[in-house]
């Protein structure tokens, strides 16, 4: 059983700020409680097999010219730089 504090910590780590705290916590709690049904699936001994994707399936790593200046679409593009919030 997870507790409210754990959910609050995760919300903070996911950079989520919420207004109606209790409502979110209660609903997320109900969802996580439902996931406990996975304990009954009897899959503990299953080995997860991964599918290999050969390198040949990937497209060639080369520059493809693009006519639009995508950087100009950014909200805080200032002509020669992008204004971001301060890091410290």
């Amino acid at each position: 059983m997870v507790n409210e504090q754990e959910i609050e910590i995760v919300a903070k780590l996911m950079k989520i700020e919420i207004d109606d705290h209790k409502e979110y916590i209660d609903k997320v709690h109900a969802m996580i409680d439902y996931f406990d049904i996975l304990d009954n699936a009897g899959v503990q001994d299953e080995e997860i097999s991964m599918k290999d994707i050969p390198l040949s399936n990937l497209r060639e790593d080369k520059h493809i010219p693009y006519e639009d200046k995508l950087i100009e679409r950014l909200n805080n593009y200032k002509g020669t730089y992008v204004r971001a919030p301060k890091m410290i």
Partner: protein
């Protein structure tokens, strides 16, 4: 579009009538988030091509609507989210490029649950769509706007996306055909990501033949999506009336058990009789992992969504919100308040279930359930050609009825998520109307058997005559 091709009606007239229908009915239905103001001009260009004897694509100006999480260059793609309210897509999705090459006309972008997270279209930041069969009821989701637009004659076909049933569920609720192809059959390049490992773009149309026609246009390899598979340019329309005589069909017992509505159960029994009448052999089969599939599905999708939505930091995509005065993390947290409640909940879940200390209990177990479910269904397809179940175990419900109970909403997905978790193709065929509300029957096939799946769907469809939608 045969009439346009034969010159009996111009593409301009046809598209004008479609736009007129949208103007007449969409105020009540809210299928569309944007209408393409250039649609009629685009149709005129196609008429010019026809008149001048130039090659014209197979769509001949066919009016198609597009779910608003698929990019069309230089048009808004909002994902029904305030976060992307003014986002203009800088490129075409591969499916859009392919349809443009075939002279389709995009009449507009359709409503959805925000970032395709939901199954009623009530979680759209711009208000819910309404079911054309009864305006008080949900149309299903998340591709609710797409299904409504087809059902209400606002277009001939639509493209939706299906992560856990988001094409088939609204198709069932709105009385139209919805198809989720084999994973990889249709490129996802240009589809705004929610849960990449299981989602697919899929057509919604009025008939199985129209569905196959659209699939012919959009399926196949794409160098921009390395999960796409080579379909050898199959013609999905060729032999679509081949029927299903002698085929073996398994009825998935876990999908017709506890909680199924009596009207849906009755429709399922009638569908089984129809299949038997068409010469198929039907037997009950078991997929034990189905009862854990919804929990596995939400665990996997939340995890992938948590990662995919991390890009929405309001620096690369977003709305006008000055950065001055904020520290980096607090700015992003504040900006993300524009996400709606369901997206916020799933981001929190997406951080929780794969996190250190919880991954073994939730995420890894979900992956194991996914794998075991795939093994179980692969075993069944060694013996059976198709599997069937009702698309949704309940009838469409009223707007607002389940919105505050996320776990009740989870269970509406129980019959659709299996196709996504296993990568198998599945289709919803409109089958009956009960109390004025549609019921769809779902057919599954083995991977890459999309063509025979469409043949089975066509066979079932040929036994059905539904009343006209009351709009």
């Amino acid at each position: 579009m045969q009439e346009v091709q034969n010159g009996n009606i111009s593409a301009e007239d046809y598209v004008s009538k479609t736009i007129e229908q949208i103007n007449n009915v969409d105020e009540n239905l809210h299928a569309f988030l944007q209408i393409n103001s250039e649609a009629i001009d685009n149709a005129r260009q196609i008429d010019k091509k026809i008149k001048s004897g130039k090659n014209v694509g197979a769509c001949f100006g066919m009016p198609i609507s597009i779910k608003d999480n698929i990019c069309i260059k230089d048009s808004k793609t909002t994902c029904a989210s305030n976060m992307l309210e003014n986002f203009i897509a800088p490129y075409d999705a591969t499916v859009i490029s392919k349809l443009k090459q075939q002279d389709a006309i995009f009449v507009g972008k359709t409503n959805l649950d925000e970032f395709a997270m939901g199954l009623t279209t009530e979680f759209s930041a711009f208000g819910p769509s309404r079911n054309p069969w009864n305006l008080d009821y949900v149309p299903g989701g998340s591709s609710g706007g797409s299904a409504v637009s087809v059902s209400a004659f606002e277009c001939l076909a639509s493209l939706g996306s299906d992560t856990g049933g988001s094409v088939r569920n609204p198709a069932s609720f709105c009385g139209v055909v919805g198809f989720k192809p084999t994973y990889g059959l249709i490129s996802r390049f240009g589809l705004i990501s929610y849960a990449n490992s299981i989602e697919q773009i899929g057509p919604i149309a009025r008939t199985v033949k129209d569905t196959a026609f659209i699939l012919n246009m959009i399926a196949g390899l794409d160098p921009n999506d390395n999960t796409t598979i080579d379909n050898s340019n199959q013609d999905y329309l060729l032999g679509i009336d081949s029927g299903i005589e002698g085929k073996k069909i398994g009825i998935i017992k876990e999908m017709i058990g506890e909680g199924i509505d009596s009207a849906v159960m009755s429709a399922t029994k009638n569908a089984i009789s129809k299949f038997q009448g068409l010469g198929a052999v039907c037997e009950e089969v078991s997929l034990d992992m189905v009862k854990y599939s919804v929990a596995a599905y939400y665990t996997i999708t939340a995890t992938e969504a948590g990662s995919n939505l991390a890009r929405y930091d309001n620096l690369r995509y977003g709305y006008d919100f000055p950065v001055e005065g904020y520290e980096f993390n607090s700015y992003i947290s504040k900006a993300r308040r524009k996400f709606g409640p369901e997206v916020t909940r799933r981001m929190i879940l997406g951080g929780f279930v794969p996190s250190s200390g919880h991954a073994g209990k939730y995420f890894l177990k979900a992956l194991k359930v996914k794998q075991k479910l795939t093994q179980e269904i692969d075993q069944l397809f060694k013996k059976y050609d198709f599997l069937i179940a009702p698309t949704v175990p309940v009838l469409p419900f009223k707007i607002g009825e389940k919105i505050d109970d996320p776990v009740a909403l989870f269970l509406v997905d129980i019959n659709t998520v299996t196709a996504n978790l296993t990568g198998k193709p599945a289709i919803s065929v409109p089958f009956e109307i009960s109390n004025g509300l549609p019921i769809g029957i779902q057919i599954f096939a083995n991977s890459n058997d999309d063509k025979s799946l469409l043949q089975a769907a066509r066979a079932l469809e040929s036994t059905v005559k539904l009343p006209e939608v009351p709009i």
